[in-house]
Amino acid sequence: MTMDGWMGKVLRLDLTASAASVEDLDREIAEQYIGGIGLGTRYLYDEVDPAVDALDAANKLVLATGPLTGTGAPGANRYMLLTKSPLTGGIANSSAAGDFACAIKYAGFDVIIVEGAAERPVFVFIDDGRVSFHDASELWGLDTEQTEQAVIAATAPDAKVNCIGPAGEKLVRYACVMNDMGRAAGRSGVGAVMGSKRLKAIAVRGTGGVTIADGERFMDAVRRCYEALTDPYVEHFHKHGTPGVLELVNTYGALPTKNFQYGTNPQHEDISGERLAETLSVRTRMGMACPACPVACGRVSRVGAGETATYGVGPEYETIGMFGSSCYTNDLEAVTRANFICNQAGMDTITTGGSIACAMEMYERGLIPEADIGFPLPFGDGEALVRLTDMIARREGFGDLLAEGGYRMAEHYGHPEYSMGVKKQEFASYECRAIQSMALAYATEPRGACHIRGEAQDYAIYSVLHWHITKDRGIEEPLDPLTLDEQPEMVMELQDWFRIIDSGGLCNFMFYLGMDEDQLRDLIESATGIDMGGYPGLMRTGARIFNLEVLFNRRAGITAAADTLPPRMLQEPLPDGPAKGYVAELGRMLPPYYTARGWDEHGDLTPQKAAELGLQLAAGT
């Protein structure tokens, strides 16, 4: 049967046997789970025993595009990597944009499932329907940029590549997967799983196209979406990218400072997006936009001068928040150097920065002996930050311990309470005592602390008020980030709504900047020919996906007890800024959140709710 939007094929790569096979995409499952995070979660849930060690050959890597990936809809350029996380022990889903994502579709596939493990390093070349396995011994040890260039040279000039760097090879628990010279599927250690399979890279060359069920309706929808993205703020985002928000976050007292001891940073101006634009940012167009993106938010920076100058992609807001403010270096050059090391080694900048900030606080409190580290590690030491980042990537000395993540390092010294994260994954660059919705979102997100699977910051501090979540409640003014009213329901709806964005294959910035639920539904329905059942149906699909992620976690042994925050957030009042005196009121938000979700008091899905969501397969789990 021919399909529109979807390509209708799943490619299975067995690394143990160096064999590839092609299966039909089950249309019924595709309609229930759409693509990306939804479809990927379903495959992971069906095929991987959640009890396996994440770095065992029995774990699998699922690469899932959405039905909109590769079309001309704004920001329809993403794929999702799903696996069991070596950092959290639960579900990992990490997304990246770029030509690589679109190439999977053009090669004829919606999903690629990587299973088993190779004996020696390999890379795989998918040339439309032809799949070949290649020795990658010569590439082992190369950084991500070198790897991408070498794989393109060895395959085809128009091949698109994702790969791991040395951090993934050395199984750093938060190694990422890079593609298209600087895009990252950043969080939860997907790169370490790729490394454990000795899979250095996947190259894809696709010459096919994506068809659309109702072209006229689709193009009408696409036009309305582009029109929704003409706000002046789009221009600001184009110029400054994500770092442009740092000043605002600091104004709300939500800028993590010294490992989340404070929410404001007196030296915030030294690390602002505006300062970055004036100093290190050399090229704002970044060479450049992701496919079909009207914004082009990325940028290239330069550190050093003359012949020793180095160029790279970034830094993004999150990176500056962690390396710059949480580690308190307040030095964009040190931030950018550490960022470049992460890009080249293939390592998540958020968890790297969060882990180092944790080590800095413990060093200052005398909980980590200097002899263990080999040098002083106070807050603000940019040189130590850069040095330690490199040591983590190589798993050298103290870096070997930090490569396990901040939580395991802090636990090693008997003080896990200094690790600022959830489910052993570090917080993003938002202080959740100052944004109460964020506290609930951090605590309940299945992949651990995260700022992009349900952007609780958007309506709280960024004045994003054009979604049903706020519109249907008559909320017309930015919501007080310290209020708890309706937060449990709103955070739940955010999480479910973002599942649809991440299933369709779109960039969530398009929605932050102007698009809404109805436009996305219009795009998915006209592209695939399905009827999602209006806004309620769209949200039910989102809830189905979210609950399946939670079910994976429950089977992996992660109970509702893990839906918590570090004691600092729950007990220590924030000492500064507009949220001074506040703690994260998780205890007041969590029970109504569980009720809204249709879960029992233990945080487990009730059979009635499971049936309502069409999750019959989950019964008895």
Partner: protein, 162 residues
């Protein structure tokens, strides 16, 4: 009145939306390979360059076509000159592909010559170009604009030397 497709390389971000929209309009699928406009990205130089048929005044593809499938027509509304392919007459001999010095005509899967036809006078690539790198403008305006840009640069260097 003679409208042309004008390209401002300085504004192109390499998002390829022109290719996607072009392929969908002409072939009913989103497939950059089948587009009639192509943007090459030079990542390390931070430059993206869209390349498309310039609708030559004396089109070599038209001159060489042995079956008379290629002809130049003037759009009544816009005055745009379009060198276009009559699919019924095209035999897929590929002489036009050999003759075009710019690689802007190709023979596709259907066995027919394919090239930019300015979408009949309202190019879809221009409609969707998010940063104004592609515009459909009067040829003369474009030249005047270019002359003024050069004059501005010269004035700038003159002032600097004063």
């Amino acid at each position: 009145m003679n409208k042309v497709l004008a390209i401002d390389i300085g504004k192109c971000t390499g998002c390829h939306v022109c290719e996607l929209m072009c392929s969908f309009r002409h072939h009913g699928e989103f497939n950059p390979r089948r587009a009639r406009i192509h943007t090459t990205v030079f990542l390390h130089d931070e430059i993206a360059v869209p390349v498309v048929c310039s609708q030559c005044e004396d089109a070599w593809c038209e001159r060489i076509c042995p079956s008379g499938a290629i002809s130049t027509v003037v759009m009544p509304e816009t005055g745009a000159r379009v060198v276009q392919v009559d699919e019924d007459l095209c035999v897929g001999c590929k002489m036009c592909v050999l003759a075009c010095p710019f690689g802007n005509i190709q023979v596709g899967a259907a066995g027919c010559a394919e090239k930019c036809d300015l979408c009949g006078g309202d190019p879809v690539c221009v409609q969707f170009c998010p940063r104004g790198a592609l515009r459909f403008v009067e040829a003369e305006d474009r030249e005047v604009e270019k002359r003024q840009k050069l004059a501005q640069a010269l004035a700038g260097s003159y002032r600097e030397s004063e």
